[in-house]
């Protein structure tokens, strides 16, 4: 988002088409990876190997899908890292977390495009994603051949980073689809309402609309 935007439709643009495509590629690959990965992790989830076409196909495809996710997530990380630097007003906002969880948003400190929860999630995902790539390559026997002790450590790192990602995913999906109304359309249609933008991200709202209202 660069500079003030002239509003035509009466809505506020939040994500351009390219950004939405990138996001959904990450989302789709993530779901495939999480389900097939859980199948390798715990026998209770073994039937989820069906998602990628059975046990052997899951073993073959999981790493390739992982590389796709990493690349597109990387694009997102490069695009959004500046917006996700934690600012002093984010700390003030965070102090009101109990109120926020109770849907009492009255008099919240003004924040920019992302709140501190989103920023912390962003950081957790960036770290997990790097750990997943590195440990995943170590575990990938089709392309790599590392000493067994290294593979053992990588296996544990891969599992922990994956669980962190999945927990973050649950928070992300719940907040965006179910909890904070009016958020989902930012990623499906690309826009949010003025009311949504003003309420949840007032600094960002003024930045992209050029002040006012």
């Amino acid at each position: 988002m660069s500079g003030p935007v002239v509003m035509k439709s009466g809505d506020v643009p939040r994500y351009a088409p390219g950004e939405r495509v990138t996001h959904w590629i990450v989302a789709i690959t993530f779901v495939l990876l999480a389900l097939s990965g859980l199948a390798f992790f715990h026998p209770a989830f073994w039937s989820l190997t069906a998602v990628l076409g059975g046990g052997v196909w899951s073993r073959i495809l999981h790493p390739y899908v992982g590389v796709v996710m990493f690349v597109f997530f990387g694009l997102m990380a490069l695009k959004y890292w500046k917006d996700n630097l934690i600012q002093p007003y984010d700390r003030a906002w965070q102090k009101r977390l109990p109120d926020i969880l109770n849907n009492n948003d009255h008099g919240l400190p003004e924040i920019d495009k992302y709140n501190i929860g989103q920023k912390q999630l962003f950081l957790a995902w960036v770290v997990s994603m790097v750990l997943l790539l590195v440990s995943g390559v170590v575990m990938w026997r089709d392309v790599a051949s590392f000493p067994v002790p290294v593979i053992r450590i990588a296996s544990v790192v891969h599992a922990i980073a994956a669980v962190v990602m999945i927990l973050g995913f649950i928070v992300h999906v719940y907040s965006a689809i179910f909890w904070v109304r009016g958020s989902m359309r930012a990623m499906t249609r690309g826009t949010v309402t003025h009311g949504w933008a003003k309420h949840h991200h007032p600094l960002w709202y003024r930045r992209v609309t050029g002040g006012g209202k």
């Binding site: 992790f41 046990g55 948003d105 927990l167 904070v180």
Partner: protein, 290 residues
């Protein structure tokens, strides 16, 4: 398909009771007396022949080991260690390497594919290749570096202790062929007794540290060694002196599984009950002015 006539006591990635109605299946063991081995490799040949395996013809790497390592085609390999004694004398320690058939198998613990690895009631740890997905977790789980993934079909292979022969009352092929009687096979209790007798003999002959190798760290093994220098198994081409399943593997395929599943479940329940108790957040909530 697992051998139908054998009880299964452990089955990979399985939380329910495996087939176990049969009675009177005694734990077996193969006893390899290193002090009697002459390094003729007849056992390697017998293994190839019985299991229809033919490794690629390799190159001489400067020692008698041939092939130089275990492969998907070579499930047992003689390892020749030249040990220089402090008095300047040289000792040739020849160890028949291969799967140890652990009572607590690290490969089976690590395996994510249901039924790809089983442990029969007789103690044999067997790879059921048809269920193998080729992930190589068994390689990471094994404390002895035994399983090998085939380049041809991406499945894991190792010594079966001739489970197919044992199931019909035959001894393993390597045992049958050994010309010096260095490899013996039978009930594990008998093998332990026989080993103890042999260890006693060796001690009388000046090998004060002779011992049976049946490492407790993996619950004992169903392939055991009589070692002249039982105080130093590492001397035998790096036989681990105290093998056990790596703590990393134990965390990965142990505590991490219930903890992670619980965390994921609680997160989903937490989100659901937050919605049920607090409901969705509207931008005009709390009577805020627009």
């Amino acid at each position: 398909m697992a051998l139908q006539s054998l009880n299964v006591t452990k089955r990979s990635a399985t939380t329910t009771q495996p087939p176990s109605v049969r009675t009177a299946e005694e734990p077996v063991a193969k006893l390899i007396d290193v002090s009697k081995c002459i390094g003729c490799k007849a056992c390697q040949v017998a293994c190839m022949q019985w299991n229809d395996l033919r490794d690629e013809v390799g190159t001489n790497v400067g020692v008698y080991d041939n092939p130089s390592n275990l492969t998907d085609q070579s499930w047992t390999v003689m390892r020749f260690a030249e040990y220089s004694k402090p008095d300047g004398d040289m000792e040739w320690l020849i160890r028949k390497d291969g799967c140890m058939h652990c009572e607590d198998p690290g490969c089976l613990k690590a395996c994510p594919s249901p039924g790809a690895i089983v442990k029969y009631a007789n103690g044999i740890v067997d790879f059921i290749s048809d269920n193998c997905i080729g992930c190589g977790y068994c390689v990471a789980g094994c404390p002895f570096d035994v399983p090998r993934i085939s380049k041809k079909d991406s499945k894991a292979y190792k010594c079966t202790l001739c489970s197919d022969r044992v199931a019909v009352g035959l001894e393993p092929a390597c045992v049958k062929t050994c010309p010096t009687g260095a490899i013996q096979y039978g009930a594990k209790t008998d093998m332990v007794l026989r080993a103890e007798k042999r260890v006693g003999d060796l001690k009388e002959r000046g090998f004060q540290k002779a011992a049976l190798y049946n490492p407790a760290g993996v619950g004992g093994t169903h392939v055991m060694y009589v070692l002249q220098h039982g105080d130093d198994p590492e001397r035998y081409s790096g036989l681990p002196s105290n093998p056990s399943i790596s703590p990393w593997v134990s965390v990965w395929k142990g505590a991490a599984k219930p903890l992670a599943s619980l965390a994921i479940g609680l997160a989903m329940l937490g989100a659901f009950f937050h919605y049920v108790t607090r409901g969705p957040k509207d931008e005009h909530a709390e009577g805020e002015s627009k």
